[in-house]
Amino acid sequence: MPTTRSTPTAVMLTRADVEEFGRELDKIRDEVMASRGEDDARYIRGLIATQRKLEMAGRVLLFASWLPPAWAAGTAALAVSKILENMEIGHNVLHGQWDWMRDPKIHSATWEWDTASPADQWKHSHNLVHHTWTNVLGKDRDIGYSAMRVHPEQKWHPIYLAQPLYNALLALFFEYGIAIYDVELERIPTGDKSLKEALGQLRAVAAKVRRQIIKDYVAFPLLAGPCFLPVLLGNLTANLTRNVWAHTVIFCGHFPEGAEVFTEEQIQDETRGQWYLRQLLGSCNIDGGPLLHLMSGNLSHQIEHHLFPDMPSNRYAEIAPRVRALCERFGLPYNSGSLARQTASVWKRILRLSLPGPGRPRQKETAPPVEEVQAAV
């Protein structure tokens, strides 16, 4: 019989405790899922309408961008609209969080979003690979996005010396980074993926990027006539702002100090309770108010999102205290910190791990002391 899985945090729960923890989470999930209704539908429809109106307002304001305040307001409106569209709307719709409404216009199977990455490629690399294999070394490609060393367990290579620099570049051009990342180029030399398949995906990316670029950098600037340049710069600023913000929020999800990684052997024959536990230990929240939650697409509730990826995101805030209390009851860590703290922690790691060495003591200060109980199963 398998005994208790020992994780790097040395979280030692009895098997019975882990399953009890899982059952409690199932209960929360069932309750929320059963209560989805008109209010939730109104939330997402209202949000989509608001985002589209904000986008239109931003574009109209930019047509008057010979006036500096109009440029600033238009660019800000467009940036906020793009952030909402990608994060609270697109990411969550593509997770199938709103499929229960049976609205073909707000459905994971039909949604396409305002970013370089085509929705179907994203659904594979994110929903399937990342959410199934969360923080499993060699399986979850989101660990450092296959290009960075963000956990000491990753082997060091001289190329990582440059990672602070290319992380900054990645932040600026995040949407293109994600689009290329989804193609999984590194799997071609190993034979895991055929060149033909990758080329097909690249063509799809190119087709989408072309439309995206023509929209923001050709069509709207041309429509603005004499305001060609300010409109182009406004659109560029909005896109870059969205990129940097998305990069910041997303890097706070699994890379701050305290987030765990796992090996494939550790997750063999994983039960539902153990799966929940891995999602919890691998994810980090950001503390903040409703505005931060909205603008982060509720990835500030990364833990809740990873436990229940298909739960409507507007419900994460309501269950977060219950999940936190449950963690306390079982003596489990619940990694949460302010945006500044989590971001500083991520950058500290990226800098430290660009150099060789394990990079951190084995015992982390964020993990609360846990009673070690030897499994007797």
């Binding site: 994971s108 399937l128 298909d310």
Partner: protein, 386 residues
């Protein structure tokens, strides 16, 4: 003095509109101009046809008529056809089919459906009790072959019961009330208005309608008015609570030549079966419309025959095996993902039947739903569009 249906300027303006629409798509990518138009007015959408309820008229204690203004792109129906109606209840869209009870000749372009609340009917109950002006509903395209031919036959029998009157009301209005407004052909009935000399081969229509009591007759007043106005429309109301259910033998007394007429029959399944069995006239003169029977409650865990419509494969599945596995074992190319219900990579369209969510035991599914095959099992016979 009718203009030709297409002129050069028509073609030019259509061309310009098409170019404009495709140019606009470059501005709205990755979504479509339609997605922004819908924000301003849902009725402007052509991609997702919908309608606005403008009035709700009670017909009986448990039936209402909804007067609907259809959105852009509505194709006029033929009297007797039905339409799919999409209604959001508790945030979830439900589609049901209802007969159109209005004639396409209505001058205001509105359409109506008439809904009777059926026991435990989620959508019908919602529409009867909760519908109000301003409500937006999804609309399908008019469908169905339970229609009058053009020109209509001269001797007609309508045999209806309960809400089965709804498609026939559309036909009656086309033949009589708005018939006078039309040109030749369908519904030229003005010759029969009382006090006017009848024309050659006037219409001769018999309507036999059953309802529990006089108050339960949907469109009761309207039918009686029409019958009073037009001598060539004979109306027999059968109040089953006092007179008992109408049997085919009763019909021979009420309308001796009933099997010599072109007949349109709409009502409960039992009535349709009896009439079909007793029909001795030409088969193509008997038209029946079956309203879909209430969905039978599926028993959890019983499984059923699973048909993959595009791959044309069939297999008997038990009620505990995910449809994903069932399909794969049958050799259907199934989209798949995490196999635990989180990634939505396995969504497939349900053409008919109900499925059981293996995680919760909940039985659900309506025609057209996208279901997660990895966590759904058959609950009775199921058709999947794969």
């Amino acid at each position: 003095m009718t203009a030709p249906s297409t002129t050069t300027s028509d073609i030019a303006s259509r061309w310009v509109r098409r170019r404009l629409a495709s140019a606009a798509r470059w501005l709205t990518t990755p979504v479509r101009p339609d997605d922004y138009l819908r924000l301003v007015n849902p009725l402007w959408s052509v991609e997702e046809l919908c309608g606005r309820v403008e009035a709700v008229r009670p017909e009986t204690a448990d039936a209402v008529t909804l007067v609907i203004r259809p959105g852009r792109g509505w194709v006029p129906h033929r009297p007797g056809q039905w339409v799919r109606i999409g209604v959001d209840i508790d945030g979830v869209r439900h589609w049901r089919t209802y007969s159109l009870s209005s004639t396409p000749r209505r001058p205001d372009g509105r359409i109506t459906i008439t809904v009777k609340a059926v026991p435990d009917g989620l959508v019908s109950g919602h529409l009867v009790r909760r519908a109000e002006p301003g409500m937006i509903i999804g609309l399908g395209r008019p469908e169905g072959e339970f229609v009058l031919p053009e020109p209509p036959p001269t001797r007609v029998l309508f045999l209806t019961a309960g809400s089965g009157i709804t498609p026939v009301m559309a036909m009656l209005d086309s033949l009589f009330a708005y018939g006078a407004a039309g040109s030749a052909g369908l519904g030229d009935a003005d010759g029969a208005r009382k006090g006017t000399a009848p024309r050659a081969k006037p219409l001769d229509v018999v309507l036999v309608h059953s309802a529990p009591t006089a108050e339960d007759v949907i469109f009761g007043r309207r039918l009686r008015e029409l019958a009073a106005e037009f001598s060539n429309l004979r109306l027999y109301e059968r109040h089953t609570r006092t007179d008992g259910r109408l049997k085919p033998t009763d019909l021979a007394d009420l309308c001796p030549d009933w099997t010599e007429r072109a007949a349109w029959v709409c009502g409960p399944a039992q009535m349709l079966d009896e009439i079909t069995a007793h029909w001795s006239g030409p088969v193509d003169q008997l038209h029946v419309e079956r309203f879909r029977p209430a969905r039978p409650a599926a028993v959890g865990g019983t499984g059923g025959l699973v048909r993959f419509t595009r791959s044309r494969r069939e297999v008997d599945a038990d009620g505990d095996t995910p449809l994903l596995t069932v399909g794969e074992e049958t050799g259907v190319l199934m989209p798949s993902g995490c196999r635990m219900g989180i990634c939505y990579g396995c969504l497939a369209r349900l053409s008919s039947g109900r499925v059981r969510d293996l995680r919760t035991g909940r039985i659900h599914g309506e025609e057209g739903d996208l279901i997660q095959t990895c966590v759904s099992a058959a609950a009775g016979p199921v058709e999947i569009e794969l």
